[in-house]
Amino acid sequence: MTWTDLKTALAGEGYVASDDLAVALHLALSLGRPLLLEGAAGVGKTEIARTVSAVRNTRLLRLQCYEGLDAAQAIYEWNYQRQLLTIRAAAEDGETGKAVEDRIFSRDFLLERPLLAAITQSKPPVLLIDEIDRADEEFEAYLLEILSDYQVSIPELGTITCVTQPIVILTSNGTRDLSDALRRRCLYTYVEYPDRSTELAILKARCPEVEARLANQIVGFVQKLREEELEKTPGIAEMLDFAAALMGLGIADLTEEPAVLHSTLTTLLKTQSDQARITSEVAARIAGKAA
């Protein structure tokens, strides 16, 4: 399978990938390396993981990172309540300490969190570690062991090594610099906002019912809007919402009704100051340019 095959396969699932992204993903799959994706919010970083899992027909395990995320939430935890109940029950039955101990520290009492679950699947799953930049730096250090050796050490149980190696995709919005140690273990791609033709292809793949003329206008409008000075630049998901909103209202031409166009801008502009900046006249002007 070459990277162009992969790109076609992704397109079959409705994801239009750039050449850079397709090559990087192909290498990540064939070399068994994690793939680190950086880029603005809404350029399809998370979506690629979903699509890969669909293409490979495997499970998608997602770990959403946040500040304060720790090993108990990400790797494993013992099921304490169940262990306590078992100990009490065993005491009633008069079981001895050793037998009970062996029982309560077995795999049955282990709660698998995404990272452990990812290395114990029989078929290699896609492991998505989303917004890694939100997690603390300490957590990055946990990740290093898992990403390089694909194993987890549990003191009571021993080391669990991977059954199959998961496909790991990390995403980052760049809210802080990631450590060099993590970066050098990963392949890297910066995902840009798509160019006009790519975005048109995405719109066609996701909303095939949009007419070609309107699709052109929508994409042109959003592309022009990204050049304006906005606090939050609209991403691809916003563009698709915008298209859906226009379809729902039955609009066939962006330039026809400025008032309706302005009311649908709520799907694209997500802060008050952006909405104040793009007035109905500005929107009409951009639509006119884009047409």
Binding site: T2, W3, D19, D20, V23, A24, H26, L27, A28, S30, L31, R33, L35, L36, E38, G68, A72, W78, Y80, Q83, L84, I87, R88, A91, I104, N173, G174, T175, R176, D177, D180, R183, R184, C186, L187, Y188, T189, Y190, E229
Partner: protein, 393 residues
């Protein structure tokens, strides 16, 4: 294809060439090790190497690790593989051109716009499209100093060491105890219920040993913006030493220079060799000592870098005298924008140390309502004295 580098006949083969390429990247500042060379080779065997663009994409995915590196990669790739005979060429690390079209490095311009004060910027990529909304901006309307001054002449190694110590103390002073989540600790104010239960298993479910948790210290991240315009050049030595020291003392700090444009110098100052770091900084602070555009520079910062690097746990230090050639309301808008990100803003003004100073400069007056603190700083000693005041912030 004719551009492809012709290697010497005694060249030992593709593996050596790839190793040479990795060495070439390393020389130009990318952090790569032996393992990367191995992966690069493995990656190339996965691709059809006769397509240079495919190989370029593959090597880019392997060898780069950040946006800046990815943008520089193309030049480095060309200079090694597409150079028709010249095997090595040192590529000067260029400051990224992501900023905007009204920011021009005089180095890039090769002096072509030297006499063109007052001309509009070149039209954008759309070609022939006319801006009707007046966003066309003037460049070179404020004189930029083209003589690059070597900052190494101004900063001595012992000053950096001293500044490093001061920066470390200031960093410690800014430590805050308002973390919300508690973590396990020997002496905590609350019970760590989960751990207590976990340990009680050893005693048959009776919690004999109580474990505790507390709110940990959370360090604030310092972001320093230093004005290096002409009016500030007297104080530049102190401030640059402070920046160099700050970045060496605090791994999470972030630093920028501005005069007529804004440059991020964090990466350069992280260099292990202190003097080489200052040397790299002077390359980036091209146009040092020229006019000052504080408002637009702060605006640029608020709209680009601040979105990534400034949050509620940041302290923004602005080192400037407030003499701006641009309208003062820009400063106010920029600071207001910054404040919305939840950070604290401290303005350190060398002029404030003068006996009867009042913030009459329009820019400074506009900035005042948005500041958390406004302090005088002339020397490293003054910076050290700030420690206690910052702790109470």
């Amino acid at each position: 294809m004719s551009r492809v580098t012709k290697f010497a006949a005694r060249d030992p083969g593709p593996a050596a060439r790839v190793a040479g390429f990795v060495a070439h990247l390393r020389e130009n500042g990318l952090r790569l090790g032996v393992a990367e060379a191995e992966v690069a080779l493995a990656a190339l065997t996965e691709m059809e190497a006769i397509h240079p663009d495919d190989s370029r994409r593959a090597l880019r995915a392997v060898c780069t690790g950040s946006k800046d590196e990815a943008q520089r990669f193309d030049d480095l790739f060309d200079s090694y593989w597409m150079d028709m005979g010249r095997v090595r060429q040192k590529v000067v690390p260029t400051p990224t051109n992501t900023i905007s079209n009204d920011v021009h490095s005089s180095r890039d311009a090769e002096g072509e716009d030297a006499g063109s004060s007052g001309t509009a910027t070149a039209p954008d990529d759309q070609g022939g499209e006319v801006h009707s909304d007046g966003t066309g901006k003037l460049i070179a309307s404020v004189q930029r100093n083209r003589n690059r001054r070597d900052l190494r002449d101004m900063v001595r190694p012992e000053e950096i060491a001293e500044a490093e110590e001061i920066a470390r103390r200031i960093g410690a002073a800014l430590r805050d105890k308002r973390a919300r989540r508690r973590i396990a600790a020997r002496k905590g104010d609350r019970l760590h219920f989960r751990k207590t239960i976990r340990h009680s298993l050893a005693t048959g479910g009776e919690p004999l040993r109580l474990l505790r948790r507390k709110r940990p210290d959370r360090t604030h991240k310092i972001v320093a913006l230093c004005d290096v315009s002409g009016s500030m050049s007297v104080y530049a030595r102190v401030f640059l030493a402070f920046l160099a020291g700050l970045l060496r003392a605090d791994a999470r700090a972030d630093a920028y220079l501005f005069h007529t444009r804004l440059v991020r110098i964090t990466e350069a100052l992280r260099d292990k060799d202190a003097m080489r770091a200052v040397g790299r900084m002077s390359l980036m602070a091209d146009g040092f000592g020229g006019g000052s555009k504080i408002g637009p520079s702060l605006m640029r910062f608020a709209e680009t870098y601040a979105r990534r690097f400034v949050d509620g746990r940041s302290i923004v230090l602005i080192l400037s005298d407030g003499y701006d050639t641009e309208p003062p309301h820009l400063i106010a808008t920029a600071l207001e924008k910054l404040r919305k990100r939840g950070c604290k803003i401290i303005w350190l003004n060398p002029l404030k140390g003068w006996a009867d100073y009042t913030p009459v400069a329009e820019g400074m007056a506009a900035a005042l309502p948005h500041l958390d603190a406004f302090k005088a700083v002339n020397t490293l000693g003054d910076l050290a004295a700030l420690e206690r005041e910052l702790a109470t912030l």
